[in-house]
């Protein structure tokens, strides 16, 4: 199923300046993997060499940080939205 993914400013060079792009998958990881096929280079910005979400990246499914859900295995369904947000902000 198609899930909209919100792309943060620092990554928009990879998505031809698109703020929201659609990708297929039933978990966060699957969606990001499918994004990588359309926008090569995107995945390594989000996942580190150990295949974990980078320290300074927050991923949300709708309004919830996936760290409070099932991390990258968090399930997504039609109507959900994934947001990738830089963690460094505030304070």
């Amino acid at each position: 199923m198609s899930i909209p993914v919100r792309i943060p400013t620092p990554l928009r060079k990879l998505t031809s300046d698109q703020e929201v792009v659609d990708a297929e998958g039933s978990t966060v990881r699957e969606v990001i993997n499918s994004l990588e096929k359309t926008y090569p280079g995107l995945k390594e910005r989000i996942y580190d060499e150990q295949d974990k979400v980078r320290r300074f990246v927050n991923v949300f499914v709708n309004d919830e940080d996936i760290r409070f859900l099932n991390e990258s295995e968090t399930a997504v369904k039609t109507g959900d939205e994934i947001s990738i947000v830089p963690a460094i902000a505030g304070g």
Binding site: T9, R45, R55, F68, V85, I88, A89, G90
Partner: protein, 417 residues
């Protein structure tokens, strides 16, 4: 002014990639924070103790070490708050040499946030930005609203809707646009991260964060200068995002590096409220992984950041310097506020209570030794969080205006003497 630029570029703290001095805050490759980098050789050649002491008593006396390109234009009177030798509190805590860095009287909005805001807004003007904004737990909103008003900039402040009424009023009065978000600070912050850059605004703690954060260093510079150009052995700092703690460390390190103080060993300790203590919990669990706190529950709302941006760096700073972190309950926070007020005549907000309470625990447990110099950073005024303690400070004694009732009132005390 020396012709060489002192502030040279922005640099990713993780991978070291260099970036231009624009309104950007994270690395495009690993999302690491961008930090201001300087030409320390150039600064060492020009900045002396005499030169600093000949300047006005504000944070701008250290301007070579701040990330702006021309002279400051916003917040020219900010900083250079008192460093108080806290003799009575020292006696209470059983320590030899204790100081309070008193940012409760910082100009103009009574918290250390005026330091970061004056740098962020000065830089915003250099970058041609006419509207500034922030995500705030209250103090930052007050400061952005006030300093933007004085600088003639438009402003928007985004805050959790359930903040203390005095902090909301303390923004509204300046004619800013206050937007209350129905959610916790971290949700406010996320929204700001998503909209920063979208409208060409300067979000002081998002896309202007590399500039903003550097303003906190001036707290550390002032401590070192006011101690007679030396570093305190122990410094206790309240932690929300952890940024202030890392910048006090950077300040001490820079002063040593450019020779304004002799290099000496120093330790930095972080203080949090137990109801929102992601950094302290990580330190106690001996891990660098900061587990976010989803629903902060403490009266120290100014420290209620469940996902601290600089948590990881704060942990590393404390570990590297031989410091550690502590946290305290709401009851201990109120005791801390009273301890400071009754012994030093300083009325701190809840975050100040956190710092005093945690320092007390660190001293009592022997983690901070009793015979070495200690500085407590008190970062905001108590009038801003009166609601938190209004039913904990007693009531005035009421009498009719006559001598008999007055004497009757004093009688038990007179007998006690």
């Amino acid at each position: 002014m020396d012709k060489r630029p002192f502030f040279s570029h922005l640099q990713c703290r993780e991978c070291g990639r260099r970036y231009p001095k624009e309104a950007i805050h994270v690395c495009e490759f690993d999302f690491g924070p961008l930090e201001a980098a300087y030409d320390y050789d150039a600064i060492r050649d020009t900045l002396t103790r005499d030169k600093i002491q000949s300047r006005g008593r504000s944070m701008w006396r250290y301007r070579e070490l701040l990330p702006i390109e021309k002279e400051a234009t916003v917040g020219l009177q900010v900083g250079f708050t008192p460093l108080i030798p806290a003799r009575r509190l020292a006696e209470k805590l059983g320590v030899k040499e204790l100081y309070i860095k008193n940012d409760t009287v910082n100009y103009p909005t009574l918290s250390f946030k005026d330091r970061v805001v004056s740098v962020a807004l000065s830089r915003a003007k250099e970058l041609g930005i006419d509207t500034v904004a922030c995500a705030s737990t209250g103090n930052l909103a007050n400061s952005v609203a006030a300093n933007a008003a004085a600088a003639g900039l438009k402003s928007y402040v985004l805050i959790p809707a359930d903040l203390e009424p005095s902090k909301i009023l303390g923004s509204l009065i300046f004619g800013t646009n206050v937007i209350g978000i129905q959610g916790a600070y971290d949700q406010v912050n996320r929204l700001c991260s998503e909209v920063a850059g979208k409208f060409g605004w300067g979000f002081v703690n998002v896309n202007l964060r590399p500039y903003y954060a550097e303003g906190s260093k001036t707290l550390g510079f002032e401590i070192a200068e006011q101690l007679g150009w030396r570093l305190p052995r122990h410094t206790v700092v309240p932690m929300a995002s952890g940024s202030l703690l890392t910048k006090v460390h950077k300040a001490y390190t820079e002063f040593s590096k450019i020779g304004l103080v002799d290099s000496s060993e120093f330790s930095i300790y972080g203080a949090q409220a137990s109801g929102c203590s992601p950094i302290s919990t990580a330190i106690k669990g001996n891990t660098e992984v900061v587990k976010p706190v989803q629903k902060p529950q403490t009266i120290a709302k100014s420290l209620s950041i469940g996902t601290p941006a600089d948590g990881y760096y704060a942990i590393r700073t404390m570990k590297q310097t031989g410091g550690t972190a502590e946290d305290c309950t709401d009851e201990e926070i109120i005791e801390g506020i009273k301890l400071l007020a009754e012994n030093e005549g300083i009325f701190a907000e809840t975050a100040g209570g956190v710092t005093v309470a945690c320092a007390k625990k660190l001293i009592e447990s022997g983690r901070i030794p009793k015979n070495e110099s200690i500085v407590l950073c008190i970062t905001g005024h108590g009038l801003k969080t009166q609601e938190a303690i209004s039913d904990k400070v007693g009531q005035p004694k009421l009498i009719r205006p006559n001598l008999k009732e007055f004497e009757a009132l004093l009688e038990p005390q007179a007998q006690a003497l």
